[in-house]
């Protein structure tokens, strides 16, 4: 059996351990690190505030009524015939109606402003990243920079990033909680996502759609880097002797296991499109042992 290239010697830049740099605390949507996450977070908190205005009084009323009208309380007035009040009906229908009208406005505007496929309102040219989810690792291709990586992405903090995503196998979901929205990856289709990082940091990324036995190992690191550091990162990646051509991709796809972090110094720029259009497919092989164990 031919050994896939990537299981051979991993060059110096292929850092097998991501713990060489520490991850920022994973605080998810409570600690947004980019405009998309901040927008999502803001809407979540606004919606929560609106709902609490109804929920808190309701909870208090529940406890108050239950307590006051307990059978042993002789001071409470018993109204056994009271089963209808037009005025109350008006309030009971009216207030929630106003709330959902307001919430609907938030929904309509928010859904359009924060549509993952919508380019961010930035003037800088976005970094293009093509994402392929495999069993059970993430492949990231930088068509403009001419490099690719597995399980590690870098973004510069001065430009937005535009992602095109697909899956080689089953459905997955690309998700970096602190940077923003998740989006599905599906075989035969290409989805779009736009994100930006505000400041340097190392963020936890994962798949948010269960995809099989190796799903739990399908996390990756997103490194937000200052512009110079980003240039350095791509330069380091370019030094790798690994090349992402068709046979290398197929070997990567057929090995149904997680993967150490890898870099490819040269890529086939048409690869992503062929994968997304199902012109380049790989059959599911047997599940192999993880290429690395728990850290």
């Amino acid at each position: 059996m031919i050994q896939p290239q990537f299981l051979a010697v991993a060059p110096l830049t292929a850092k097998a351990k991501t713990s060489l740099f520490a991850l920022d605390p994973a605080l998810g949507v409570l600690d947004p690190q980019g405009p998309v996450a901040a927008g999502n977070s803001q809407i979540l908190l606004n919606a929560l505030a609106i709902m609490l205005m109804i929920v808190v009084p309701t909870l208090l009323a529940t406890l108050a009524f239950a307590w006051w009208f307990r059978a042993s309380n002789k001071r409470a007035i018993y109204r056994p015939e009271w089963a209808y009040s037009g005025r109350l009906e008006l309030i009971v229908w009216g207030i929630p109606l106003l709330v959902i009208l307001f919430l609907s406005g938030v929904t309509w505007i928010g859904s359009h402003d924060l549509d993952p496929a919508r380019p961010l309102a930035e003037e800088a040219k976005p970094v293009e990243i093509q994402v392929v989810s495999l069993d059970w690792k993430w492949l990231f291709i930088y068509p403009d920079e001419g490099v690719a990586s597995v399980n590690e992405i870098a973004l510069p903090t001065d430009r937005p990033a535009h992602f095109s995503l697909t899956s080689a196998t089953v459905m997955n979901m690309f998700f970096v909680p602190q940077l923003g929205s998740m989006i599905a990856t599906m075989n035969g289709m290409a989805t779009q996502l736009n994100l930006k990082a505000d400041r340097p940091g190392n963020y936890h990324g994962q798949s948010a759609q269960f995809s099989g036995a190796g799903f739990s190992d399908m996390h990756f690191v997103l490194r937000a880097l200052a512009p110079d550091s980003f240039t350095q990162w791509t330069a380091e990646a370019r030094k790798s002797r690994l090349a992402l051509d068709e046979s290398e991709y197929l070997a990567l796809a057929r090995a149904r296991a997680t993967s150490p972090t890898l870099f490819y110094g040269s890529i086939d720029r048409a690869l992503f499109e062929r994968i997304a259009a199902r012109r380049l497919t790989s059959e599911a092989g047997p599940i192999s042992a993880p290429a690395r164990t728990m850290e």
């Binding site: 994973a26 605080l27 998810g28 949507v29 927008g39 809407i43 979540l44 919606a47 929560l48 709902m51 609490l52 309701t58 909870l59 529940t62 009524f65 009208f69 059978a71 007035i77 018993y78 109204r79 015939e81 009271w82 089963a83 209808y84 009040s85 109350l88 009971v92 109606l97 959902i100 919430l103 609907s104 929904t107 859904s111 359009h112 402003d113 549509d115 993952p116 496929a117 089953v170 459905m171 998700f175 602190q178 929205s181 599905a184 035969g188 779009q192 936890h204 994962q206 798949s207 948010a208 759609q209 269960f210 099989g212 036995a213 799903f215 739990s216 059959e283 599911a284 728990m294 850290e295």
Partner: protein, 670 residues
């Protein structure tokens, strides 16, 4: 000869399922042997297995549901403990096993715990509340139950023979297609659900016909109890939604068995088609579950507040509103699949509208309590627990309905906490409330009140301690279905949830103790009159348990809450309404059809799963033969003579007259 089945289908190398399977199997065998030796088998066959009485079928449904709730709960304990142990460690459940457990947990809880409990309670109470003798199609009813039991049996067999699906409770393709799920797990799932789904559809047809075409004289629609309205809405949803499930699962069967290309990655298959179709069923399904729950709370809250339900008309409109709108919100289950902002926004807004109609119900329950004299019996405690916790679950649902918020929280533990919040507070609490509420009607004695309260508090606290930390974990970015994780920030919340599940476990134990103690003390807890709670609807007019024919005379309904009116009149006049002239009553005969159909369905389902084609053929032929044999019978009814009706009714009347005499000086009227 045996298709794909070999001796290695039994998990000899996996101690947990092996031991669990052995324990369960030996216990069942021991129980069966005891039943046979004690001579109970003829009684069981005659009085329960072949019964077409809606009351008996209802009890069997609830029993099945409660047993499967326990099985699903054990899965939950395993999941929570695995996650508690698996921080930067492998835990004790390898992915192959863990993935089956969470798939089984969801499948069992929804299809074989929640559905049977709700359907069982509807079976028991709806014909009584409508003032009629049985449902429209009693033998079909029996078949529904046994087909559901078949599905449960197949899922449990998969624990020890073969494997279960490793896809989650909804088998999204391409993960559920052959290349990625080559084993028998998904097949067990498909046949279990296709078979039990047929049973559920039959229930839907049965109850829609019963509620719309069989009500006591005088009971126009706006005089039905709220539980009957919600049962109607739920069964309309079953009739409209379950065919979609059937069709979609058949498409997946065709992909897996005959190489079709509906959803796979080859041949132009479209996985998004599956997701749309399955959720077009899936969203109505959760309302199928929660509407009867709302109905139960309407009954319990009004009974234990001593007041009629507030805003009855409004509640009916809200119920029918939920019924309709539940069909136009399904996309909110996959906002993150990239349908575009217009589509996402429309479905998000539609989802909020359901929040509106549900909110109306909550307020009407509160105003039912207002001005009441609230008795804190166990069913009322469950209702209060529901009112307090369900609004939180509903709130988090409204948050998830806003697509940008969902983009951060989809498939996270926040989502998991949300749906457990609404299902546990809604459906499970209602199930427990309904069981305690109607238990005396079914068996003639109440459940022990003290242990009932213990169950309530342990379950309520356990629920909160399990799921509120999971809300936080989801906000911190933790996704669902992780077999292990290495993010330190999530750890404390996962550990807290494990503590919560232990507390819930104590609650489960209390359930069992409650049952044992109640049976032991059943004489002391006896329901003498048939109306232990000072009820308001027609089922409380009968004896506990009611005779096979329910009512000697179909009640003549003159207003809402007909039994309450009857009772007040009896108290005012200090005597019961005069009995008329007793007539003989014809009732449907027992039938083995349901049981036999389900037996052959089990054989067929097992054969299909393992590709044992001769077994499939035999199962189908014998099922058809059994059905024809049933269709051939000449007598499907028997008559209860008038003298017998009079004797049985006489006992009921005597008990009521004694109660009247004892309470002569007590005024219940306002």
């Amino acid at each position: 000869m045996f298709g794909k089945l070999t001796i290695n289908a039994i998990p000899w190398d996996q101690p947990i399922p092996l031991i669990a399977g052995a324990v369960v199997g030996l216990t069942l065998l021991a129980v069966f042997i005891w039943v046979v030796i004690k001579g109970h088998l003829p009684y069981l066959w005659r009085a329960w297995i072949t019964s077409v009485d809606h009351k008996r079928i209802g009890v069997m449904y609830v029993l099945l549901g409660l047993v499967m709730l326990l099985r699903g709960f054990i899965d939950a304990v395993m999941m929570r403990s695995q996650q508690a142990l698996a921080y930067r460690a492998p835990g004790y459940l390898p992915p192959h096993h863990y993935d089956q457990i969470f798939s089984a947990h969801g499948t069992i809880m929804i299809f074989f715990a929640a559905m049977p409990i709700m359907i069982g309670l509807m079976n028991f109470a709806v014909p009584l509340q409508l003032g009629v003798r049985d449902v429209a199609f009693p033998t079909l009813n029996s078949t529904s139950f046994w087909l559901t039991a078949t599905g449960a049996l197949l899922v449990n067999i998969s624990l020890v023979v073969g494997e279960f699906a490793q896809t989650g409770w909804l088998p999204y393709p391409p993960l559920s297609e052959l290349p990625y799920s080559p084993g028998v797990g998904v097949d067990y799932y498909l046949w279990a659900l296709l078979i039990s789904g047929a049973g559920t559809l039959m229930t839907g047809i049965n109850f829609v016909t019963t509620i719309l075409k069989m009500r006591a004289p005088g009971m126009r629609y706006m005089r039905m109890s709220m539980f009957c309205w919600t049962a109607l809405a739920s069964n309309l949803l079953i009739v409209a939604a379950f065919p979609i499930l059937t069709a979609t699962l058949i498409m997946l069967v065709l992909d897996r068995y005959l190489g079709f290309h509906f959803f796979g990655n080859e041949g132009g298959g479209n996985m998004a088609l599956f997701i749309n179709l399955i959720w077009a069923w899936g969203h109505p399904e959760v309302y199928i579950l929660v509407l009867p729950a709302f109905g139960i709370f309407s009954e319990v809250i009004s009974t234990f507040s001593g007041k009629p339900l507030f805003g009855y008309r409004s509640m009916v409109i809200a119920t029918l509103g939920i019924c309709l709108i539940s069909f136009i919100v399904w996309l909110h289950h996959f906002f993150t699949m990239g349908a575009g902002s217009d589509v996402n926004a429309v479905f998000g807004i539609a989802t909020s509208v359901i929040g509106l109609v549900t909110g109306v119900k909550i307020f009407n329950w509160l105003f039912t309590m207002y001005g009441g004299r609230i008795r804190f019996k166990t069913p009322m405690l469950w209702s209060l627990g529901f009112l307090v916790t369900f609004v939180i679950g509903g709130m988090t649902g409204m948050l998830l309905a806003v697509p940008p918020a969902d983009f951060e929280l989809h498939n996270s533990l926040f989502l998991v906490a949300h749906f457990h919040n609404v299902i546990i507070s809604g459906v499970v609490f209602a199930g427990f409330a309904g069981v305690v509420y109607w238990f005396p009607k079914a068996f003639g004695f109440r459940l022990h009140e003290g242990w009932g309260k213990a169950v309530f508090w342990c379950t309520l606290v356990g629920f909160c301690v399990t799921f509120f930390p999971l809300y936080v974990a989801g906000l911190l970015g933790m996704t669902r279905r992780l077999q292990h994780y290495d993010v330190a920030e999530w750890r404390p919340w996962v550990l807290a949830a494990a503590v919560g599940v232990a507390i819930s476990g104590v609650g489960m134990l209390c359930q069992i103790v409650q049952l044992v103690v109640s049976i032991r003390d059943r004489v002391a807890l006896r329901d003498e009159t048939g109306d232990p709670w000072d009820g308001r609807s027609l089922e409380w007019a009968t004896a506990s348990p009611p005779p096979a024919f329910n009512f000697a005379f179909l009640p003549d309904v003159k207003g809402e809450e007909p039994y309450w009116a009857m009772k007040q009149r009896a108290i005012e006049t200090q005597h019961l309404a005069a009995a008329g002239e007793y007539q003989a009553i014809t009732m449907p005969k027992n039938s083995a059809t349901g049981f036999m159909t389900a037996f052959f369905a089990t054989v067929t389902g097992f054969g299909l799963t393992w590709h044992i084609w001769w077994m499939v053929g035999a199962g189908l032929v014998l099922a058809y033969a059994g059905f024809v044999w049933f269709a051939w019978r000449d007598e499907d009814e028997y008559a209860i003579p008038a003298s017998e009706v009079q004797r049985i009714d006489g006992e009921r009347r005597r008990a009521r007259e004694e109660w009247l005499a004892r309470n002569a000086n007590v005024s219940e009227a306002a």
